[in-house]
């Protein structure tokens, strides 16, 4: 039902993105690459890790489409790919907004319901005590 295109279904693509982002070393690598492309050796430097260990992380990031590598055969510089990250963030951003905006709107609705109730007088008992859930 979701048709964002780009081959992989969006849910599967987001899975790969979030799995790749779940590791602090990989996030640090992305943060480094956000400042500009870098070789495996340059990426390994700030971490107490071997180049093969870093390469493993790079492979995960590459498979998630978060990074790519340049043409230069010797350095093979890695660079950040903006799109999957932006998509993941778009989803997360929606989730947070979802609750904050929703609750703000619920405040307004409740004010309206309270006003309605007070104009309807005190003879009526409110809400849940009437078992509204069953009717509709």
């Amino acid at each position: 039902m979701n048709t964002h295109g780009h081959g992989q279904p969006p849910a599967a693509r987001l899975d790969a993105t979030f799995a790749a982002l779940a590791d602090p070393t990989r996030r640090a690598i992305l943060a480094r690459l956000a400042r500009g492309e870098a070789s495996v050796r340059e990426l390994a430097e700030p971490f107490a890790m071997s180049q093969p260990a870093i390469s493993k992380h790079l492979k995960v990031l590459e498979r998630a489409g978060l990074i790519s590598h340049g043409r230069d055969a010797q350095r093979r510089p890695r660079r950040l790919e903006a799109k999957p990250l932006a998509e993941a963030n778009k989803w997360i951003e929606r989730y947070r907004q979802f609750w904050e905006l929703s609750f703000g709107r619920l405040d307004d609705l409740l004010e309206e319901l309270k006003a309605e109730q007070s104009t309807q007088g005190r003879t009526r008992k409110s809400g849940a005590t009437k078992q509204k859930g069953k009717g509709r």
Partner: protein
């Protein structure tokens, strides 16, 4: 004590995230707003440009609910589950799963309504299948706890607006 308006997020156990929000309205009204579809449609999922595509709720034990919103670009966001426990005016327990969830398994949400001095606090505890899943959810900026994104995203946004 929760101040009206402030959304509090805590982690009471290893697999849980808890949201707490107070409203200045009596409990039956807040419960109605949470359980009657025609009222739910007026507040839940109020993202700008988004509208309801499906809002179905059969609020009784074993009943199902299904919520789908449609975005301005035509994309949809959906979630749903079934009710496990319904105590009118007090407490609802339901399973929940986003169509696009990045976490595994179905989560179980417990919503408790409590009233004090005319203000109702709604506490929503979401229990995930494992600590790892919970941590994954928490690490997202959704809960404000993520160190990953901001530098990376700032840089991305800067480069995007520059190009």
């Amino acid at each position: 004590m929760t101040n009206v308006g402030a959304l509090q997020i805590t982690t009471p156990s290893e697999r849980e995230i808890r949201f707490e929000r107070a409203f200045s309205a009596p409990r039956p009204l807040v419960y109605d707003a949470y359980t009657r579809p025609e009222l739910v449609k007026r507040w839940l999922g109020a993202m700008p440009g988004w509208s309801w595509a499906v809002c179905e709720m059969d609020v009784r034990v074993g009943g199902a609910y299904r919520w789908v919103w449609k975005g301005p670009d035509g994309s949809e966001m959906g979630m749903g589950g079934t009710y496990r426990e319904v105590v009118p005016g007090e407490r609802i327990v339901n399973t929940e799963k986003f169509d696009q969830a990045w976490y595994e398994g179905e989560a179980v949400a417990t919503v408790v309504f409590s009233e004090r001095a005319g203000k109702t606090t709604v506490t929503t505890s979401i229990l995930y299948v494992s600590k790892e899943v919970r941590d994954g959810v928490l690490e997202s900026p959704a809960a404000g706890g993520m160190e990953m994104g901001y530098q990376v995203l700032d840089a991305l946004l800067a480069s995007e607006s520059a190009s």
